[in-house]
């Protein structure tokens, strides 16, 4: 079966194609070279005047795992306002801040997304995370597994173990939990909180192990680099949300000692202490450092106004912020000598000074980081806002007058604390395609996603070129997954289950014996049972294929 998508204006940054009219050809779920004149075209879509991009990739979205299920359990009121009835095709679910997995998959696809990456998988909770992602239809998925507050690693670092052993442990964890990257959250801080430590600065020693967040970032970024894992260490830096957090962020970048590092939801880590309220934007300073540090990248974690829920591994920060929960309820949980989680509903208000400035800081980051390949479009779903706000966020980036109109509605003092109004930059479609497709695929090492070259998976989104970019990106005309139309006019018309993407670096199997002994001595389960089999992944994912992405030599 050969399909032609003809006459669309194609945005394929990976190949330097910026809005040129091209025909695309699809066979067996992949893009193929233009056929010879003798070959029969079985299906044709006339995409004249349409904007054609690869399927979008969300590289940081909390879509599965224990903390999301806690959020769902806590928020019946949120689901009640957004029910999703079953149809002959789709399952019943409910949405908004912490949607059910079915709603998550359908709505991502309806916005033109075809791959999502869950950024905070605890090893002990990886099986649940994959069950949930397996029940998330339409999109490919993958996860980053959390290390850095687990006692096994902290003991290794404290004991000054040979780095090769640490690499073995990191590799074993990636393979056992079927993940594609390593995440560190408040390095060492989740563990320190269990010892009643309430803050942990980058050079402060862990109360029991004596190691510092800087040590942990250095060790893990080195392990990820030496193992050849394409995605750099994914770092939720120390002091999230704290006025003055920008300093921790800059120090965290330095802690990687020149190795690649990805700073996640950097908006929450770009705060200063200037002004009457001792809360200010350091976005310019952060963006400047990102601009001048070749190996550094960031996703923004933009906040948008309205009700959401924050779900994070950072128990230290979530406990600190529990009083700000709205409605006033929160869950904080210490988990298995490995990590933790904190969940609190939150309502960002445009008339609140801090929230208004957070909104502006996120946009400042977007507009001040020069290289669109090193900044990614996220709201840290659902922490800054539900992912369904992405079309609105894209409009804020692409439409300066719209942005300034919104700015004028904010808390007046916040308007005085941001340079946003002076920033003239408007994102182009080409740049949006980088932020949401080509960039994430390159950063994660996904060779056949995020672009429209020959050999790519035919995950393709087709938009009408509307002046209102919010409307345009909310309702694609077509979404193709593996070459088949799965969304038409923003509605699911066929259900697929996507794939899992993983990396499998090599390791000395002796690490499994050591972990086994450690678990038998200190834990309450066998280490062997952390390991998820390929068969289990298939069962969880409705037969989804597990794709092993290559590590670099």
């Amino acid at each position: 079966m050969l399909t032609r998508l003809s006459g669309g204006r194609v945005y394929d940054p990976a190949h330097g194609i910026i809005g040129q009219v091209r025909d695309l050809f699809i066979r067996d779920g992949r893009l193929v070279a233009p056929p010879g004149p003798e070959e029969r075209i079985d299906r044709e879509y006339d995409l004249s005047d349409r904007v054609v991009m690869a399927g979008a990739i969300d590289m940081h979205t909390h879509i599965g795992g224990g903390k999301l299920n806690i959020a769902r359990a806590m928020l019946p009121e949120d689901h009640r306002g957004d029910p999703l009835a079953r149809t002959d095709l789709t399952r019943a679910s409910s949405g908004h801040a912490a949607p059910g997995t079915f709603a998550t998959g359908y709505r991502y696809a309806e916005m033109g997304y075809t791959a999502c990456f869950e950024p905070a998988i605890l090893p002990v909770n990886a099986r649940q995370a994959h069950m949930e992602m397996g029940d998330t239809p339409m999109v490919d998925k993958g996860g980053y597994v959390m290390l850095g507050s687990d006692d096994f690693l902290l003991r290794m670092i404290a004991a000054g173990e040979d780095h090769r052993r640490i690499n073995d442990y990191v590799a074993w964890t990636l393979v056992a939990t079927h993940c594609i990257g390593i995440k560190v959250v408040n390095p060492g801080g989740i563990s320190a909180f269990k010892f009643n430590q309430r803050m942990l600065n980058i050079d402060e020693r862990h109360p029991h192990y004596g190691v510092t967040p800087r040590d942990i970032v250095r060790v893990l970024s080195r392990a990820v680099h030496e193992l050849g894992v394409p995605h750099p260490l994914h770092v939720h830096a120390s002091n999230l949300g704290v006025p003055g957090s920008a300093e921790s962020t800059l120090q965290t970048i330095r802690a990687a000692e020149g190795r690649p590092i990805h700073l996640t939801h950097i908006q929450f880590h770009s705060y200063g202490t200037a002004g009457d309220r001792k809360f200010s934007s350091e976005a310019a300073r952060i963006a400047e450092v990102i601009n001048h540090t070749a190996g550094a990248s960031c996703d923004v974690g933009q906040i948008l106004f309205g009700q959401t829920v924050t779900a994070s591994g950072d128990t230290m920060a979530q406990h600190r912020n529990a009083a700000h929960a709205s409605p006033r309820k929160s869950v904080v949980m210490d988990i298995e000598c490995e990590a933790g989680c904190g969940v609190l509903p939150f309502r960002y208000r445009d008339k609140n000074f801090v929230n208004a400035l957070q909104w502006a800081i996120g946009l400042e980051i977007f507009l001040l980081v020069n290289d669109p390949w090193r900044v990614f479009l996220t709201t840290d779903h659902p922490n800054g806002a539900p992912f369904t706000t992405y079309p609105h966020l894209i409009r804020l980036l692409m439409d300066r007058s719209f942005r300034n109109e919104r700015l004028e509605q904010l808390h007046p003092d916040a308007q005085g604390m941001t340079t946003l109004k002076t920033l003239k930059r408007e994102y182009t479609l080409h740049e949006i395609a980088i932020l949401t497709r080509a960039g994430p695929a390159r950063l994660l090492g996904l060779d056949d996603l995020g672009h429209l070259g020959v050999g790519a998976r035919a995950d393709i989104t087709v938009y009408r070129d509307l002046r209102d970019r919010e409307r345009m990106f909310a309702t694609p005309e077509y979404v193709f997954k593996d070459g088949e139309v799965v969304v038409r006019e923003g509605r699911v018309v066929a259900v697929t289950w996507g794939r899992y993407h993983v990396v499998r670096p090599a390791f000395d199997p002796d690490i499994a014996r050591r972990l086994g002994e450690h678990f038998d001595r200190y834990h309450t389960m066998r280490a062997e049972h952390l390991r998820i089999s390929d068969g289990e992944m298939g069962d969880f994912g409705h037969g989804a294929e597990v794709v092993t992405q290559p590590c670099r030599e």
Binding site: G66, N69, I70, R72, A73, M74, L75, P76, H79, P83, A85, R86, R91, A92, S93, S94, G95, A98, P99, G100, T101, F102, A103, L122, V124, N125, R127, Q128, M131, E132, D135, D151, R155, F193, K194, F195, N196, H208, H319, K329, V331, V332, M333, D334, I335, E336, C337, V343, L344, D520, R521, Y522, H523, T524, M525, R526, E528, H529, E536, D539
Partner: protein
């Protein structure tokens, strides 16, 4: 802990996960060579009983109207009943992840209400989670961090026999070779097999008055003046002593079992515990340990939550999910005549049978189940972790352990039967 000297015969299965309580211990050694599985090491009374039953016991494994039937006929009869029902209820829900997924899909097609046999207890916790939240911890954290564990009215030895062995009695922790963990029993004492080898004390009071105790403790920890001389029938001086001990703990834990707080509005007792814990975290580290997770209750809840956004006691009538912790009680709906069909799933425990009712009932249960009333349709299903593989969530709702098939069995899984009924319903227009 090191394994005991190896008594296992060849062919023994190691690292077996046990599905018979919420601890889901995964270190059992089982001899599968005889008709009844024998737990050779790391067992407990629940495991010995659960694994040791005779799976061949009982009558015909598939019955329609009390008569032996083929699986096809039973599935068709069940599908017909579901199609004809105006408001079916899928209750019991004693099954694994795959079974819960299949039940959810079937409920959607049938427009059914979903509830678990243990929901009454689960709701005592859920109401707190939805109203104010909590600070909690997990088993390995207790094992390593806790230096004070308060057990609030819970009969842990009976419901989770190995809890003390696995989480309290260990001498060595990640941080010390000489663990000191004090245990305080509130309400119910330790019983004969309680926390052997640990320092423990008991403050006796009725479970129904525990909320008074925690209210007094909160006031004391908050430094408020107390006029009363007693709370929950215990002199204030005793509570003052405990409050001071809590303030001095480095990592305190309060464990409760919602199933043992079996009185009206027990959610307020749970909330009292959780608010006390929240207050203590202003000074030190303290966490709750809501123990539970039998018969797959947490598993069913987790699956429904991630799929639909709502957990147990939810309805798919009308095609949209909704939750009501009061109205969608299967027990209440049966008692009040608000349902005209009950599908009951119980694959772990032969004693957990459906409530007495006059409405047609479909039972997917254990082969050795003795039913007071013959249901319209009975289909024997395997037990996850015995007759077939599966997954079960542990008490902490974090760890989902893989269960193995320990012996060949002709019995289908609940998931397979539910999927077959779903497929049969699809054939029966106009469902």
């Amino acid at each position: 802990m090191p394994m005991p000297p190896d008594p296992a015969p060849t062919g023994a299965l190691r690292d077996v996960a046990c599905p018979f309580c919420g601890l889901v211990c995964d270190d059992l050694v089982i001899d599968p060579s005889s008709q009844r599985l024998q737990v050779i090491a790391n067992g407990c009374p629940l495991a010995v009983a659960g694994f040791g039953r005779d799976s061949e016991a009982g009558g015909a494994t598939v019955r329609v109207a009390g008569q032996p039937a083929t699986m096809e006929a039973a599935v068709a009869a069940a599908a017909r009943l579901l199609c004809d029902a105006r408001q079916p209820v899928i209750g019991g829900l004693g099954t694994d992840v795959a079974g819960a997924r299949a039940a959810s899909q079937l409920a959607e097609r049938a427009g059914a209400v979903l509830d678990h046999m243990n929901s009454a207890a689960a709701m005592r916790n859920l109401l707190v989670l939805q109203d104010s939240g909590w600070i909690t911890t997990t088993l390995s954290e207790v094992r390593n961090h806790a230096d004070l564990v308060i057990i609030a009215g819970a009969d842990i030895p009976r419901r989770m026999p190995r809890f003390f062995e696995r989480c309290i009695a260990n001498r060595e922790t990640l941080f010390s070779g000489e663990r000191r963990c004090e245990v305080v029993y509130l309400g119910r004492g330790p019983g004969p097999e309680g926390a052997a080898g640990t320092s423990s004390s008991t403050i006796g009071c009725d479970a129904i008055r525990l909320h008074e105790a925690f209210s007094a403790l909160r006031a004391l920890v908050g430094g408020r003046t107390i006029g009363a001389t007693e709370a929950a029938g215990v002199p204030i001086a005793r509570w003052r002593e405990l409050a001071e001990r809590c303030r001095a703990a480095r990592y305190g834990v309060i464990a409760w079992m919602a199933a043992d707080l079996d009185f009206p509005q027990a959610d307020l007792t749970v909330q009292g515990i959780c608010e006390f814990i929240r207050d203590l975290n202003r000074h030190t580290r303290f966490a709750g340990l809501p123990l539970g997770g039998s018969e797959g209750d947490l598993t069913a809840d987790a699956v429904l939550l991630w799929q639909t956004g709502f957990g147990l006691r939810s309805s798919l009538a009308g095609g949209c999910p909704d939750q009501d912790v009061y109205h969608y009680s299967a027990e209440r709906m049966v008692r009040r005549g608000e349902t005209d069909l009950l599908l009951w799933i119980s694959s772990f425990n032969a004693d957990r049978t459906p409530p007495p009712t006059d409405i047609p009932t479909i039972v997917l249960g254990r082969a050795d189940m003795t039913l007071a009333q013959e249901p319209a349709v009975f289909i024997a299903v395997g037990t996850p972790g015995v007759e077939h593989a599966g997954h079960l969530f542990r008490t902490d709702r974090v760890v989902a352990l893989p269960l193995r098939s320990l012996r060949p069995s002709p019995l289908p899984s609940a998931a397979e039967v539910l999927a077959a009924i779903d497929a049969a319903m699809r054939e029966l227009a106009p469902c």
